[in-house]
């Protein structure tokens, strides 16, 4: 009986870690893509995710007022929100980020990093407080039945039971699909080749006729779109408000660094690993030390592989 209990706990925690890790991975992939191509650390990524959550909530409220179809609608809305945030990302880059990155930062003492830091941190504060003024302080979520439903699996004649939450499972599948699409886009399309060229060497890419500024804008847009999809998925099972982005942003940074700066797949796997460590640590440590366990693993990995698990040393991916 006790053995069955341990097996059940292990299976449950592994499932929780995998499902949550996929969403962390998607968030990390968005941030990792922006950093990998533009070398800009977007401190406002969490706040853009928060905005996407509200956009998802509004979309679902308009299209599916009832709970029964809310989850399926949320998944469709996530795609629409991704497109919207691609546009928002491109606009933000054109209006703000391009002023402190790319060609304009060439020749500055720190390659524009101080400006980027101040701009994205400032943007994060503006979005947080703007969100509070616009949406209020009440935590909200996308009301749906999938969040309280699970598939139940029985093993060892019912001694071991595994519950798989439907909202988290579909959200994890959505996350994997979004990352695979991005990897395909990067590997198999013309725009992907341009993005990789710009990531490797922006000056050489410029000489080869690549519009570096447009490539940066595209990267920023895709990065926000990926995080927006993650935001809408999370909003189906997690109450959020204007400050929710901050809860996830540390995980995003850790995942990107752990996976290897500049690699989309690496960032996804970094996020997945964080999800797994966060949950698996509860097998041996008290649950309040979940995030401590994450950062112990984070430091251990960096000690052995400073470039991250899937990074390529000083080379750009």
């Amino acid at each position: 009986m006790a053995f069955a209990g341990h097996i059940e706990a292990l299976l449950q925690i592994l499932t929780a870690g995998l499902l949550l890790g996929c969403l962390y991975g998607l968030m990390c992939a968005g941030l990792g893509l922006i950093f990998g191509i533009m070398r800009v650390i977007n401190f406002a990524q969490g706040e853009f995710m928060m905005l996407a959550m509200y956009a998802g909530l509004t979309g679902v409220a308009v299209l599916a007022p009832g709970r029964s179809w809310a989850f399926a609608t949320a998944m469709l809305v996530a795609c629409a929100v991704a497109a919207l945030f691609y546009g928002l990302g491109a606009l933000t880059h054109w209006a703000l980020v391009s002023r402190v990155s790319g060609a304009r930062a060439v020749g500055t003492a720190d390659a524009g990093h101080t400006g980027q830091l101040i701009l994205t941190l400032g943007l994060s504060l503006v979005l947080q407080n703007g969100g509070l003024m616009l949406f209020g302080s009440s935590p909200v979520s996308i009301p749906n039945d999938a969040a309280v439903r699970s598939w139940t699996m029985e093993f060892a004649e019912g001694d071991v039971m595994l519950f798989v939450n439907q909202a988290r499972a579909f959200s994890a599948l959505m996350a994997v699909a979004a990352v695979l699409l991005t990897i395909l886009l990067m590997a198999r399309t013309g725009i992907g080749r341009q993005l990789r060229a710009v990531a490797n060497n922006p000056i050489a890419a410029l000489y080869m006729g690549v519009n570096v500024d447009r490539a940066f804008r595209t990267a920023f847009g895709i990065g926000l779109a990926l995080t927006a999809v993650a935001g809408v998925c999370v909003a189906t099972f997690y109450p959020f408000q204007a400050y929710t982005g901050f809860d996830f942003v540390i995980i995003m940074y850790a995942g990107v660094v752990l996976g290897g700066m500049g690699s989309v797949g690496g960032a996804f796997l970094g996020g997945l690993l964080i999800g797994l460590v966060q949950q698996l640590s509860t097998l041996v440590l008290p649950p309040q030390l979940q995030n401590t366990a994450v950062f112990i693993v984070f430091l251990a990995v960096l000690l052995i592989r400073p470039q991250g698990l899937f990074g390529r040393g000083v080379e750009r991916a």
Binding site: G136, P139, V148
Partner: protein, 409 residues
Amino acid sequence: MMTITRRALMGSALAMPAIIHGTAHAQPSAIKLALLAPLSGPFARQGELMRLGAELGVEDVNRNGGIKALGGAKLDLAIADAGANVEQVTAATQRLAADRDLIAGMGAWASSFTLAATEVTERAKLPWVTLSWADSITERGFHYVIATSPPSSKIIPAALEPLLALAGKSVGKKPGTIACINDDTAVNQANMEPLRNGGFAKLGLKTVMDENFSVPLSDAAPLIQRLRRARPDLVLLGTTATSDSRLLLQTLTEFGLGQGKVPVIAPSANWGTPEMLKNMGTTYLEGVIGVAGNWSSKQQAALNQDLLQRSKEPWLIQDTLSLYGHVQLIADALERAGKADRDALMAALLATDTTEGPAKLFLGDRLRFEKNGRRANPVPAVFQWKGGKPLTVLPEADAEAELSWPQPG
């Protein structure tokens, strides 16, 4: 035609200070109170609810003629944002304490926030009224703190005793085992300390699970899986953030333990907020029992109705009701003190002993305070979700509905 001479002008100029002075005497200067509440950050909603209560309280005192003992002086509320952490609380309180016109303050919601704020206000000798629960708030030998809620060490045992007795009557067997899942905030750890140290044993309960987590919870499945294996007769969920409350209840439901299968007792006001209903829906909340420092009373139905209309909230919870009560308590003490002086006000607050006026705004009959500033014989409020509303079920004199032991339906 009137001629304005130099002499007349000089005379008018000389008379002006006397005229202004006279006007100032006719209009007594406003009495400044501070409200320190989290108005930004993850607890901003609770801060908004507090602000609502304090503003309504000030509005009512001023509408009824201000502080009569001080010539009808009006109350003036200075609002400060406590932010999201103790460092921000300390900085905000230091700014407040520097204002020598302040007579008293209220806040700061979370016990950890109030502990930090009162470190500063005690040095400034600024009377501070709070709804926070942690025992330590009034056990540091401070002289300028008033706490109107029951302390952590008493609130859960006082609520559990009648609940367990009712369970015995309803299902024929008194619950014997309990599982506890708490966040690691000051208030929930303070709540648990006496229970862990013999409190549960005194109530005849055996702890089969006792886990803590850090806010925010990323996934409740590992905790609820353990709870399912432990098979408790009831579960105590101590959470501060609505997101954690929802995740825990959602996962309980998902694991087939919700809707009364394992009765839920939640010692936190956030379980009775309108947001919980919006996020969870009526079905999943039905029967959940919450414990708080204050809640609405059937004895104050008319006042509650008036406050509801003005606040535009669907119902009022501890954070709004207590802050409304705090303003009335300070106003009552100012009437008795007869002067706008911090020490005189504190002495009057400590000397409060009434069953009328501000006493009606807190549950229980009589409002008086012990020497340390904690309310004497406080009564915890027990509410239960019934038909999509968290109704007061205990104490019986204030109950809006009858308490029923949750059973799977």
